[in-house]
């Protein structure tokens, strides 16, 4: 409401310009909503219609076959992804909830310490320590982190031997467990930045008043600061949630068993089956395309994949709707220096 003059809005020129902007925004929204529409629409089509040319806008014969089949994976589908879909969904939930429970308290408390407990030079050093990795490309840590999950605390393929003996150092192996996804996400530099920006905007005097009242630092954080900071918690939980729910590269590296694989990896398996059948070696390719045609005969094609996509999309989507009121209130960063 600030780019257009308040007085003289009725001028035809300004009126037209304003409506052009409204139209542009609506067009953008329309285009943004197309994927949701097509995915939902396709998920209700029968298998053959989902692969028909020309594509149909609405399912001609709406059916729940895609949904049913996707949930009751048949034997031939099992050869593509070995677990029932619900298992992948549950795995994703476990990883996401675990990450949230670990990372949000740890990150918020360290940001609070940097904002309100530490002063002067030490606050700056700690800030750099926590924020530094955000400015550096994370890819370089991929392989050492992967090796860490295998031989913690040695980021090496094999643990070194204890000097003078043949026995290797004892190591902790979290690779191929849920912990391999949850633990490395225990601290999030991006969320640290959001928390710090928000806590910085809380006046020191409130914290001081609580200290005078006799609260310990932790009590102040829990009883005074936490209730004031619901918006930033909403935003960071949302970011952490969608980040973990959508994570793909890291689970690909550290999760091998499909019984604990998240939904994203299941999507990859199925997409592979449908689109790359034939790109790897001829033997498996043949088997896979046979499986695929089998599936299509049973009524599962892209309609089922869209169900999978929707299952992946809906939690993030719902979460966004829930926290929408807090989104604008929770972000209070003014950029990095």
């Amino acid at each position: 409401m600030s780019l257009f003059p308040v007085v003289g809005r009725k001028q035809p020129r300004l009126r037209v310009a304003w409506w052009v902007i409204v139209a542009l925004l609506c067009l953008g929204i329309f285009m943004h909503l197309i994927p949701f529409f097509i995915m939902i629409s396709t998920s209700f089509k029968p298998a053959s219609e989902a692969m028909a040319m020309p594509p149909t806008l609405f399912p001609r014969e709406p059916t729940l076959a895609g949904w049913e089949l996707a949930f009751n994976m048949t034997a031939s589908a099992r050869s593509l992804i070995s677990q029932p879909l619900s298992q992948y969904f549950i795995n994703s939930v476990i990883m996401t909830v675990g990450t949230l429970l670990l990372s949000i308290p740890i990150t918020s408390m360290s940001a609070y310490a940097c904002s309100k407990l530490l002063k002067g030079r030490s606050a700056r050093y700690w800030f750099f320590f926590f924020i530094g990795t955000l400015m550096l490309p994370g890819i370089v840590t991929l392989i050492p982190s992967y090796l860490l999950t295998r031989n913690f605390p040695f980021p090496l393929p094999v643990a070194p031997t204890i000097p003078g003996t043949e026995t290797p150092f004892p190591t902790i192996r979290i690779w191929n467990t849920f912990w391999a996804v949850i633990l490395p996400a225990g601290f999030s530099a991006g969320n640290f930045l959001l928390f710090k920006g928000f806590f910085d905007s809380i006046p020191d005097s409130i914290i001081n008043a609580a200290r005078v009242d006799g609260g310990s630092e932790f009590n102040i954080f829990r009883r005074i600061v936490l209730p004031m900071s619901v918006p930033v918690f909403a935003v960071t939980i949302y970011f952490q949630f969608s980040g973990t729910w959508e994570s793909y590269l890291w689970p690909l590296v550290v999760i091998q068993d499909s019984s604990i694989a998240p939904l994203t990896l299941a999507v990859r398996r199925l997409v592979d089956a449908f689109t790359y059948a034939g790109t790897t070696n001829a033997q498996t390719a043949l088997g896979q395309s046979a499986n695929v045609s089998n599936l299509v005969n049973q009524g599962l094609s892209w309609n089922g994949l869209m169900v999978l996509g929707l299952l992946q999309a809906i939690p993030v989507f719902l979460f966004f709707i829930v926290v929408r009121e807090y989104l604008l209130k929770g972000v209070r960063i003014q950029g990095l220096k």
Binding site: S205, I206, A210, N219, R223
Partner: protein, 371 residues
Amino acid sequence: MSSVQLENVVKYYDSALLPGAAPALDHITLEIRDGETVSVVGPSGCGKSTLLKTIAGLERPDAGRIFYNQTEVTQIPTQERGIGMIFQDYALYPNREGQGNLSYYFEVRKKTEEEKQQRLKETAEMMGIGFDLLLSRQVDTLSGGERQRVGIARCIVRDPNVFLMDEPISNLDAKLRERTRVEMRRLLSKFGITTLYVTHDQQEAIFMGDRIIVMRAGRVEQFDSFDALYYTPANLFVASLIGTPPISVLPAERDGLTLRLHSGDSWTLPEALAHTLPPGRLRLAVRPEGWLVALQPGDGLALNVTHIERLYTERAAFAHGQLGGAAINALVPLDFPDTRQVFLQPDWERSYVFHADNESALHVPGVPDLF
């Protein structure tokens, strides 16, 4: 209730560890008597808030010791000092309603519900009519004045040893400020709690404080009653800070009985005064009421009047002008005629003389015996 003593307290801020940086508090030694209200006044950045926070235990002194009632509290955390503090921005807990703000103290101390209710009731009685209504309201629905009332109640409810107030009313509008400070004075004299009151407004400091601490650049310049500060300032800084309109300062030079201004004009000093002053450069300072104003040239020097400010409510007027390069304001009767020129001479009994360089007082009028 207790007295507060500071012994050589020094406080540096982190950034001030660079060589040559000035301390925020520079060897402060003072004693606040039991039950006394003391105002702290000074320009912004003089360390008055730091002084308050150090006494509160929110800042740790780098050196020196702090006593409450002869007991050392230097290393005791704020939580255990039993103080009450009021903040400029009220610092109410925004997610709690009025009562929740008062009860946090009892929650963290695991006090019984009866004790809490008892204290709440007593506090509400002390705070006066209509206060109960504030307790059930959310903080963000309260006006500035109401918030500060809750803030004050939050302090009273714990029956503190020491009351610390950091510019508590400077965020209120002028009218409310007047009312609140009367109200606070009433409460303070009722409790007789030792109080430290920080403000940048000298009027407020005078009104609130039994005694006043004047601070500059981390040092206490003078700590005394208002009369003492007004009539016997330790230096030019104190003299110019206290009093409205401010004291007029004229750089001058004494030569025998002649006091010559930079403009070349001169007055003749009374002999008794002249003998107490060193020869050479000086600073003469005269308060508005310390001028002898005449319409006819006599012994006085001509002052070109820029305007006459008539304060009808105060039944007084001030003539403003320039003399010898210094701004002058002189008290005149309200019915003083509009004129372009008056003739001025200091009433030597009521004028101040300061050292030209270190600005310490050479001659002050002294507290008058009124009765």
